[in-house]
């Protein structure tokens, strides 16, 4: 049971990949990408967790109380916000692709072969 979060992180990563490679719609494909990304969050939050410890905010608790890791949280929180803009960029690509090719099905995009 103690390994559940890690196993679930692996599961999310692979499910996202599966959705990505079988995708028939670019927007779907990009959402799958953000699912893969969420797997890294599950992994990171589990890594920094410490049983029984408090959140790393020392406003209501005295300094020195055992707290969970603050570094992974800092890393995640910026990443959450930043990645949404990267997703927005990818979506803009998808919109443009549709505009130019008239399709969002990766199977029908055939401009770049061989």
């Amino acid at each position: 049971m103690s390994y559940l979060p890690y196993v679930i992180a692996a599961w999310i990563f692979l499910v996202g990949l599966y959705g990505l490679i079988t995708s028939r719609h670019l927007v779907h494909l990009i959402i799958c990408l953000s699912v893969i990304q969420s797997s890294t969050y599950v992994l990171l939050v589990a890594i920094g967790y410490r049983t029984g410890a408090a959140a790393p905010v020392f406003a209501d608790i005295p300094p020195g109380t055992p707290a969970v890791d603050s570094v992974v949280q800092a890393v995640m929180l910026t990443d959450v916000v930043v990645e949404v803009t990267v997703v927005a960029l990818l979506l803009a690509f998808a919109v443009q692709t549709h505009k130019r090719h008239g399709t969002v099905d990766p199977d029908q995009l055939r401009a770049l072969r061989g």
Partner: protein, 600 residues
């Protein structure tokens, strides 16, 4: 402590934001000058850093957070000659690309300069940092700028699709990297490369460390475009504006390999020291596959930019072999090779840009005999191809022979043949392009169905000038020239060998960063020099092959028959992003399996 280290990153980024904010108040011309001036200053900073880092590695702690009791708190820049040198190359190539594009695009807006400056700042940060997560941040920043620049010509169908393939593949690579970083952090509780290395040295590597190594290395190998992670590269190159291709091929791809090497030597080399031999085999296998796939695909291309892209893949394969030998001389050879390749390949891409500007196309068959009015450009193209094949005195040739002599010591003598094949096929493809379009040698139209379909390549400029503007030709010629005669630089070889030694000094690096103990100066070992026969043979074979293809019909047919063998590989380059990610999954799984079997 010197104040110099943060500047190569901070200055371009700050200027980029300023330019973006003043988007509507700054004229195109002015913003072009600002970008060029900023880049020039950046190059100067990088050169200063390079000179300072040669006697001893520079360590700079951001925010003044020095390590306490051997625990790194803040983010560090750890600058050694190889990192600083790559930052210099990034600066010089950006400068060339900006100068080239000052007359190149008809509609180049301020945003192009903004993106180029961000790209430059990210590459410098990537080359200089000594922190694993910071490496990831700059990796992502570099990628974001690269995607944006790739899709810059949004009016045509191909760019968007190429940019999308590029972005999706590299983003998946990013997530593998981040997962790997998470695993390493869980094991060591550190993000500083030196500290991770020190912690890992204390215990034998378990499955966790091997899997983390797999994910981190594969994440960077996606950027390096090593087979089977390379599929995005030719799509991205085929669609990106030519000046941007210069940065992709000349430095971005190499930076991926640099990161693999950096992380291996600072973090993992200690705990994997017992299985160096196995790792060497693994990396050399990857390098060999990359070199051969790239070379095989290169010769079949008809779009000059795509052709050059596959040539990059092939040459990167040789660089992977150079690093993969995991010795000082191999790495020094790789650095030499990288330098020579950066010059020659950038020159070639700029020449391709000139051809596109003047002839409105880069398609082989469309251009038959039409480049006759561009004698200097074609001459530069031929010089660039010769430099890549390895004429004596070219950087590639000397780097190649350094790699060979290093390989011979470890019973990998056969890689001579790999680099021979890579050089012959890639240069022959360029020679063929030159002869066909300049002199009109060869058949009229493509008859064989094996030829890939024509890719759309729209001109990036207003039709126009009766002559090539100097701002376009001079950077192209200078870069080609640099690649062609790199080896006349006195003492460069010894400098690189010492730099490689500094780079691979695992414990010296850790002590320098965490304990502030300067690493002892080491005398550069003399390496036995190979003669230039190999390069000349490559060149002769390449010229022979291209002429054979163009002039001798039966030869061409037999070559086409041989090309059928490449057909399977070609079909894998389907332009389908799902395929690419599947190959990526396969690559990571294969690497992981091999690493687990070999390193336990």
């Amino acid at each position: 402590m010197t104040a110099l280290p943060p500047l190569p990153v901070a200055i371009p980024l700050a200027v980029a934001a300023l330019l973006a904010g003043l988007n509507h108040f700054v004229k195109r011309r002015a913003s072009s000058w600002i970008a060029i001036a900023t880049t020039a200053i950046n190059v100067w900073f990088c050169i200063q850093l390079l000179l300072q880092s040669i006697p001893n590695t520079i360590v700079y702690w951001f925010g003044g957070w020095q390590p306490r009791h051997g625990i790194a708190l803040g983010i560090s820049f750890v600058i050694d000659p190889i990192g600083a040198g790559l930052a210099c190359i990034a600066g010089v190539l950006t400068l060339a690309a900006l100068i080239f594009s000052s007359k190149y695009f008809d509609s180049v807006g301020t945003l192009f300069h903004v993106l180029m400056l961000v790209f430059l700042g990210a590459m410098c940060g990537f080359a200089l940092t000594g922190d694993l997560f910071n490496l990831f941040v700059f990796f992502e920043l570099m990628s974001a700028a690269a995607y944006a620049l790739c899709g810059y010509k949004t009016e045509e169908p191909a760019p968007v699709q190429g940019a999308l393939n590029f972005a999706v593949t590299n983003t998946v690579g990013c997530y593998f990297l981040l997962t790997g970083i998470g695993l390493v952090y869980a094991r060591t509780g550190a993000l500083n490369l030196a500290q991770i290395g020190r912690t890992l040295d204390q215990q034998p590597p378990g499955a966790l460390v091997i899997v983390a190594f797999t994910f981190i290395t594969c994440g960077f190998l996606v950027k390096t475009a090593a087979t089977p992670f390379h599929f995005w590269l030719d799509d991205a190159h085929a669609v990106a504006p030519t000046p941007v291709c210069v940065l992709y091929s000349g430095i971005m791809v190499e930076l991926g390999l640099y990161a693999v090497a950096r992380v291996y030597w600072t973090v993992f080399s200690g705990c994997f020291s017992a299985s160096t031999e196995a790792l060497r085999g693994l990396f050399i296998t990857i390098g060999t596959a990359t070199a051969l796939v790239g070379a095989g695909m290169c010769f079949g291309q008809r779009n000059l930019k795509r052709l050059l892209a596959f040539s990059t893949i092939s040459h990167v394969g040789v660089m992977v072999i150079g690093f993969g030998l995991l010795t000082v001389n191999g790495l020094a050879g790789m650095a030499y090779y990288m330098l020579g390749h950066a010059g020659a390949k950038s020159g070639l891409f700029l020449c391709a840009g000139i051809v596109l500007h003047r002839c409105r196309s880069v398609d082989l068959f469309e251009l038959k005999g039409r480049t006759a009015r561009l004698p200097f450009t074609i001459a530069a193209l031929i010089c660039g191809a010769a430099a890549l094949a390895g004429t004596p005195l070219s950087g590639v040739s000397l780097g190649d022979s350094m790699i060979h002599s290093a390989a011979n010591r470890h019973a990998y003598g056969w890689i001579t043949w790999i680099s021979l094949a890579s050089g012959v096929l890639t240069s022959a493809a360029i020679f063929r392009f030159a002869a066909y379009t300049f002199a009109g040698l060869g058949p009229d139209t493509p008859k064989s169905p094996e030829e890939p379909q024509k890719t759309e390549e729209h001109p990036e400029t207003a039709p126009g000038d009766a002559s090539t503007p100097a701002v376009m030709f001079v950077p192209a010629a200078l870069l080609t020239f640099a690649g062609l005669f790199l080896a006349i630089t006195p003492g460069l070889e010894n400098v690189l060998v010492r730099a490689a030694q500094q780079f691979e000094d695992h414990s010296g690096y850790i002590r320098r960063v965490l304990d502030n103990v300067p690493a002892p100066m080491m005398a550069a070992p003399a390496i036995p020099h190979e003669e230039f026969a190999h390069g000349l043979l490559t060149l002769a074979l390449a010229i022979g092959l291209s002429l054979l293809y163009l002039l001798w019909e039966r030869g061409r047919h037999s070559l086409n028959a041989a090309a059928k063998a490449v057909q399977i590989i070609r079909r894998a380059h389907s332009g389908h992003v799902g395929d690419y990610v599947t190959w990526l999954t396969f690559g990571v799984a294969g690497f992981g399996l091999a690493a687990l079997l070999l390193l336990r």
